[in-house]
């Protein structure tokens, strides 16, 4: 079943020297329970596309459907995790994670219990009453993930979620993301500029062109997710497809050079 369907989306930005086209005729669809990543050169409009699917900004042309219904704005069916965490700095970790539960109509006690469960899930027990500024980048991103998962949206939209983290933290967050996806099987659309990350996590990787962005290539990733990171990353299958995608992104950077 198709969960996210994007048809013929164009987007223009007003700039000082007239309009700049960010997206040109984007077509994509993500099946329910599928993990899809979108990679492409910087400035290709991939974050713009995610914001349009999130319902935060409007497309100038084309349509976005979530489970067959036209997107008119943000909704609880789509949970978003931003690169810069976007935690509410004036709320404690507990309160941040509980934020989305209010709209779900849960009682005070249920909200507290659910938030506590998700704080535990991302391994931050003991930090419930801390403020975000007291946490490291990796911990903040765990809170952001917990906050989004807590209110149980069917779709996760991840905007370069691990881009601001150091290499070790990023890998452990990727492992955590994989574990969460394998156990919840949510529909995930992830924006990233890290090809290795895209291949490691996704079932399908879409490559976007340089601006104005559109999908130019699609790669299916068939790797065994039950083995350890070391086994996956050192396998020939993994590296072959990773190199193919990497070259595809390189071609978008400098057409004709590769």
């Amino acid at each position: 079943m198709v969960s996210i369907r994007v048809r013929g989306v164009d987007k223009f930005y007003r700039a000082r020297q007239g309009a700049v086209q960010a997206l040109a005729g984007v077509e994509l669809s993500v099946d329910s329970g599928e993990f899809v990543s979108l990679v492409g050169p910087s400035g290709c409009g991939k974050s713009t596309l995610l914001y349009i699917i999130g319902g935060f900004i409007a497309a100038d042309c084309g349509s976005i459907e979530i489970n067959g219904r036209e997107v008119r704005g943000p909704g609880l069916d789509r949970g978003v995790v931003f690169q810069e965490y976007a935690l509410f700095p004036w709320l404690t970790i507990q309160q941040n994670v509980a934020y989305g539960l209010e709209a779900r109509g849960l009682s005070r006690e249920e909200r507290r219990a659910t938030a506590a469960r998700f704080v535990d899930m991302v391994g931050l027990q003991g930090f419930e009453n801390h403020y975000p500024r007291e946490l490291s980048g990796g911990m903040k991103q765990r809170v952001a993930l917990a906050r989004t998962l807590a209110y149980d949206p069917a779709i996760l939209l991840l905007d370069e979620p691990f881009g601001a983290l150091d290499a070790q933290t990023r890998e452990s967050m990727q492992d955590e993301m994989l574990r969460i996806w394998l156990s919840t099987r949510k529909t995930v659309l992830m924006i990233t500029h890290d090809v290795t990350e895209a291949v490691y996590l996704s079932q399908r990787v879409l490559v976007m062109s340089g601006r104005p962005g559109h999908i130019v290539e699609e790669f299916r990733i068939n790797i065994d997710r039950s083995v350890t990171r070391e086994v996956t990353m050192l396998s020939d299958d993994f590296n072959r497809v990773r190199n193919d995608i990497w070259l595809s992104v390189r071609r978008q950077l400098a057409p004709g050079a590769v």
Partner: protein, 264 residues
């Protein structure tokens, strides 16, 4: 090897000394100038007679009474300005037509000296508290609007989007996200506006009378009681300093989540 607490204490002592030393130097210069007889006591009374007069007025309850009147006017005016300024600033940041209307008006009125309205305000609102409170409010409301607008219009869009995606309506966004995110800017606004509130209250009192530190100062001057004039000037200076420090403390209490200011 001194302990860490000891080193810290020494640091604090050193900073206090650095802060107080220039003031002590000024006091010494004052003492020397007067005791050498360079100036007549009518123009510059010796520190001793000012201190004596201070204690006398304090014991008579005069200082606290005038201080209370002035603070009431300054705080009431500042409170009105904060309430109106925060509401206006938030609406300007979120509703474009409010911004279109208010922005030119504020640019026009903000730099103008509001103190020139004293005669008219006395005419409209009388000699007592009300005219002074309203003039303080008029002076302070513009910097409060500007501070709030600045804070509310620079709230990160991902913060707003996060709230929206978690089911916060446009109407609730103001109280759930925009206002709390603007609190540091608003409290900074209060802190930089507070001296203007005091200045306006004192000036109104000096011009229009009706009690308060400003009126007491002008009254003493009329009888050439220079030590009393100095007492009230010093009380006004101290009031500003103490209130500024109090607001800094209040900020740390109200905003435990915010990166603390490093000043003082």
């Amino acid at each position: 090897m001194p302990s860490r607490a000891m080193t810290e204490l020494m640091g604090v002592a050193q900073r206090c000394l650095l802060f107080v030393a220039p003031l002590l130097l000024l006091l010494a210069a004052w003492q020397v100038t007067t005791s050498m007889g360079y100036v007549r006591p009518l123009f510059l009374p010796p520190p001793g007679s000012v201190a004596e007069q201070f204690l006398a007025l304090l014991q008579a309850g005069e200082i606290l009474e005038q201080l209370a009147i002035s603070l009431y006017r300054a705080f009431a005016g500042l409170a009105i300005a904060t309430a109106v300024g925060v509401a206006t600033g938030l609406m300007m940041a979120r509703i474009s037509w409010v911004n279109w209307i208010c922005d030119p008006l504020i640019s026009f009125v903000y730099p103008a000296p509001k103190i020139v309205f004293i005669p008219l305000f006395i005419l409209y609102f009388g000699m007592d508290h009300l005219s002074k409170i309203l003039l303080v409010a008029l002076t302070c409301v513009f910097p409060m609007i500007i501070a709030t607008h600045q804070g509310a219009s620079t709230v990160s869009r991902t913060l707003v989007w996060s709230a929206e995606s978690m089911g916060t309506s446009e109407r609730r966004l103001l109280s759930r996200v925009i206002l709390p995110a603007s609190m540091p800017a608003i409290l900074t606004g209060v802190r930089i506006t507070m001296p203007a509130a005091l200045i306006t209250a004192f000036t109104c009192e000096m011009v229009a009378g009706g009690g308060g530190l400003g009126a007491a100062l002008v009254f003493a001057q009329r009888f050439f009681e220079t030590p009393t004039v100095f007492v009230y000037i010093l009380v006004m200076l101290m009031t500003g300093l103490v209130l500024d420090l109090a607001l800094l403390r209040l900020r740390n209490v109200l905003l435990p989540w915010h990166e603390q200011d490093k000043e003082l």
